[in-house]
């Protein structure tokens, strides 16, 4: 790898890589169906994932809007939808959470941007398994359709929350929506898991096997590291959720009792006996906690990338960032029990999980320090991707800092299942990840569509989103401390909750304004696709491989050549260099100091 081979040229390869890549070569497709629908091109598949997530996020956001309206105006009937009943509210809670977690936070950052840019950033012509890649998208789409179908069957969508705790989710008589709607919900998640597993295999193989000459692991952009580790988490986590879901489906329909002990519902025996409700929680959270990192790691990788690009400075502590990603991935599998401190699990176990959870705060803190270290001494350009990256860091800190409250069982006694929890996770895994998606959209839009997005609209979108997010989710922490439980459709039945209604009203008003701000994004996205200013190949003067190729990239990404990499991904402000950035394909610079 050492030793430059001349200036910024690309060469065709004659070694192992070329054999590997030739095996994956597939000619540019002809015709609309093969090009845009059943496409094998990772870029098209990435866009398909992205637009699926875009549809899903607006569905999920609409559901949350209905929730917010019902919370503060419980008796108001809505046009078309009519009255929202308590059970309807819970179906909104369930479907909002499920759609957002699976079809937005897992789909866009990994399936969308990961698919599009991981192969290009490592200098590969496509994913390792293009057919598998196409299948994983279509599987995910089927999962989404099945999920939406749950709204339209008899009894409607399930009301058991996105965590689907048994026996509520395991026995059909526990409530409306726990019939066919709940079956569809589980089947949809199972289908999603299969798609995610195929995607994960593809990402891992591609990263390990398809890197261009010179692209050592320690020269990979942090985005690639994040997608790679996310894929490993997905491979280990979704398999468990898939199994757990199949057992749940059997409990519901085949009379097994994996999760259901001898219970009566409304005084009627259900025929189940001997199962354990806690088993579901262990299996679910064994997936569920790594899932948090599946949602946030790509955003962390992207924030690292953007802070470096727009500060015109190398990332502070590249190796520490890589180790932190690996550390988070590893520890992420050892902390699931912190969701179960109040579940009846052994208190000794809770103590152990608590220590591990506080431990995972350490790599997260390292990343924050390094982000601040990256902008320190830089020359910051405030383009819209950078605004969202800065917003991400702020949200990550705010959402992260409430973690140590919930991670300590002693404090969790009071805070568990209160609004403090949605306040915490919406800031960190919800909106921080969404800020990652926004930042990625503004950053890579020129490469994907060959046009720039409108910068003033982007700024308006940022201010609405940034201030609005805090206005919605910070007050949820206050509600939680005051003892407001989650998933209450009305606040009228408990005396002390009446005092908290004004704060809930404030949150609803803030949600109206913030959601209105998202329309700016939608307009900008579609307007810029057709009318935006033409983009040059490297508008941000960035160094990674996607900026070395045409805009948009050709079918095989690099137009018949394979790039050769000579430098790390974050060489900005290099002393003695002709310009303030050195591309990864430029001649090798002196070893970093």
């Amino acid at each position: 790898m050492a030793g430059g081979t001349g200036g910024g040229e690309t060469i065709t390869m004659s070694t192992h890589e070329s054999a590997v890549q030739a095996a994956h070569a597939h000619g540019a497709p002809q015709g609309f169906i093969r090009k845009w629908v059943f496409s094998l091109d990772h870029k098209v598949i990435g866009l398909q994932y992205y637009f699926l997530a875009l549809v899903a996020v607006f569905v999920g956001m609409f559901l949350s809007l209905l929730m917010r309206i019902h919370l503060i105006w419980p008796t108001v009937a809505l046009p078309l939808l009519g009255d929202i009943k308590p059970e309807t509210y819970l179906t909104l809670v369930t479907m909002h959470g499920t759609i957002m977690v699976f079809f937005v936070l897992t789909t866009a950052p990994q399936g969308g941007f990961g698919n599009y840019f991981l192969p290009i950033q490592i200098g590969a012509p496509d994913m390792a398994f293009p057919v598998l890649n196409m299948l994983s998208f279509w599987t995910t789409l089927v999962g989404f359709i099945v999920m939406i179908a749950a709204f339209f069957v008899a009894g409607g969508a399930p009301l058991h929350g996105w965590t689907g705790y048994a026996p509520l989710s395991a026995v059909q008589s526990t409530g409306p929506g726990e019939g066919l709607g709940a079956d569809l919900w589980i089947i949809s998640i199972a289908i999603f898991c299969i798609g995610a597993l195929m995607g994960a295999l593809n990402f891992i193989t591609t990263t390990l096997d398809m890197r261009a000459k010179g692209m050592t692991m320690m020269r990979m952009p942090l985005t690639v590291w994040a997608w790679f580790v996310t894929a490993i988490l997905g491979l280990l986590a979704f398999g468990v959720l898939l199994s757990a879901g199949i057992l749940l489906l059997m409990d519901r329909n085949l009379g097994t009792s994996f999760y259901v002990p001898l219970i009566t519902v409304n005084g009627q025996l259900t025929g189940h006996k001997g199962g354990s409700p806690l088993l579901w929680q262990h299996l679910f959270w064994f997936f569920g906690h790594p899932e948090v990192y599946i949602a946030i790691l790509p955003a962390m990788g992207l924030a690292s990338q953007l802070l470096s690009v727009f500060s015109r400075k190398p990332i502070f502590g590249y190796k520490a960032m890589v180790y932190a990603i690996l550390g988070i991935g590893f520890l992420g599998f050892m902390v699931w029990g912190h969701h179960m401190f109040m579940s009846g699990m052994s208190p000794y176990t809770a103590f152990a999980f608590s220590i591990m959870t506080m431990g995972i705060g350490v790599p997260s803190a390292i990343k924050t320090f390094n982000w601040l270290g990256t902008i320190w001494g830089g020359r910051i350009r405030f383009d819209s991707p950078m605004l969202f990256a800065i917003g991400f860091v702020s949200l990550f800190v705010s959402g992260g800092i409430s973690g140590p409250f919930l991670a300590q069982p002693v404090l969790d006694i009071q805070l568990h299942d209160t609004y403090f929890v949605p306040g915490h996770f919406h800031l960190i895994m919800g909106v921080a990840s969404i800020f990652g998606i926004f930042a990625a959209t503004y950053y890579w839009f020129p490469k994907m569509f060959g046009r720039m997005m409108n910068e003033s609209l982007a700024r308006w979108h940022f201010w609405f989103s940034f201030i609005g997010t805090y206005a919605i989710f910070m007050p949820m922490h206050y509600l939680g401390m005051a003892g407001m439980p989650r998933r209450y459709s009305q606040m009228t039945e408990v005396g002390y909750l009446l005092d908290l209604i004004p704060l809930q009203k404030f949150i609803t008003y803030a949600a109206f304004i913030t959601i209105a701000g998202q329309l700016i994004f939608l307009v900008n996205l579609f307007w810029s696709m057709f009318k935006g200013k033409k983009a040059v190949d490297n508008p941000w003067e960035a160094t990674t491989l996607e900026w070395t190729t045409a805009t948009p990239p050709p079918h095989d990404n690099f137009g018949g050549h394979t790039p050769v990499v000579h430098n790390g991904p974050y060489e900005y402000g290099v002393p003695g260099a002709p310009r303030d950035y050195v591309m990864q394909t430029d001649p090798e610079i002196e070893p970093a100091h």
């Binding site: 308590p86 001898l262 519902v265 409700p277 350009r381 009071q414 201010w463 003892g483």
Partner: protein, 268 residues
């Protein structure tokens, strides 16, 4: 733009922190023996995390303003980081996070590792869609048997619990829709659920524990203030989750004995 970002980030930070410090919305007043310790640890965590929160946000706002592109071609500082700094803040964060956790372990141990005292007042708490029932063992100190086949939820009381009246130990059991407990005595709560998971939450007692079907979970707390406190269900249990509400009445020991005796008398 740098200045606007600084202003907005700082403003958000100070407004958010203000409402915590002013305690505009805060933990309800504690009324159990454990509350003081828990609240103290809450305050400790709040102060430490508050400092980290404000410091990080203030630094972020300052840095984006201070290192904005001022249009001059001066070179940025070319640095890939500093290993000593990385080690320093890794060690400091580890000490802060893990140390903070360890300081609270004695409270957790006394709440959850230690069983209830032998002379505590036993109350069996049963959750079902969407009500709480409270059972006292009576003078014999033993809870009578229950049988799921005898349950009649609509009848309420003993029938809702499926109390087996043929069991001699059940004769003196008292079932109530309100939880009445004496002040300054340890209360042993035995948590059960009939149908789905519920969670027994009394904010003023700093008490929360899931009631899980198939399990009898033994917990304890000691009320130190007389008065009425609201009981909530904190685990999603179905469409009536929001109204699964109860009352715990903390009374003097004399009033408690009198209440229990009156309920016994009603049975005979």
């Amino acid at each position: 733009m740098g200045l606007v970002l600084l202003a907005v980030i700082w403003l958000i930070t100070f407004i958010s922190t203000y409402f915590f410090i002013a305690k505009t919305w805060w933990l309800p007043v504690g009324a159990s023996a454990a509350a003081a310790g828990i609240d103290h640890h809450f305050t400790t965590t709040f102060i430490l995390m508050g400092i980290v929160f404000v410091a990080a946000q203030v630094a972020l706002g300052y840095l984006v303003w201070s290192f904005r592109d001022r249009g001059n071609p001066a070179k940025v500082s070319y640095s890939h980081g500093n290993t000593t700094l990385e080690i320093v803040w890794t060690v400091l964060t580890t000490i802060l996070f893990v140390g903070l956790n360890l300081t609270s372990s004695s409270i957790w141990a006394s709440e959850r590792f230690r069983p209830a005292a032998a002379d505590s007042v036993q109350v069996e708490v049963t959750g079902m869609q969407f009500a709480w029932y409270f059972r006292y063992p009576g003078p014999d100190g033993k809870f009578g048997a229950t049988n799921p086949e005898l349950e009649d939820a609509s009848a309420g009381g003993e029938a809702a619990l499926g109390l087996d009246t043929k069991d001699p130990a059940s004769k003196d059991d008292v079932v109530s829709g309100v939880m009445v407990v004496p002040v300054n005595r340890e209360i042993e709560v035995i948590l059960r659920a009939h149908d789905v998971i519920h969670s027994f939450f009394i904010p003023q007692m700093r008490f929360k524990q899931d009631a899980v079907p198939g399990l009898a979970i033994h917990m304890h707390f000691t009320p130190i203030q007389t008065g009425e406190y609201e009981i909530l269900c904190a685990e999603l249990c179905g469409l009536g989750h929001y109204k699964m509400h109860g009352i715990v009445r903390v009374v003097t020991p004399e009033e408690f004995d009198k209440w229990l005796a009156a309920r016994e008398a009603e049975k005979l």
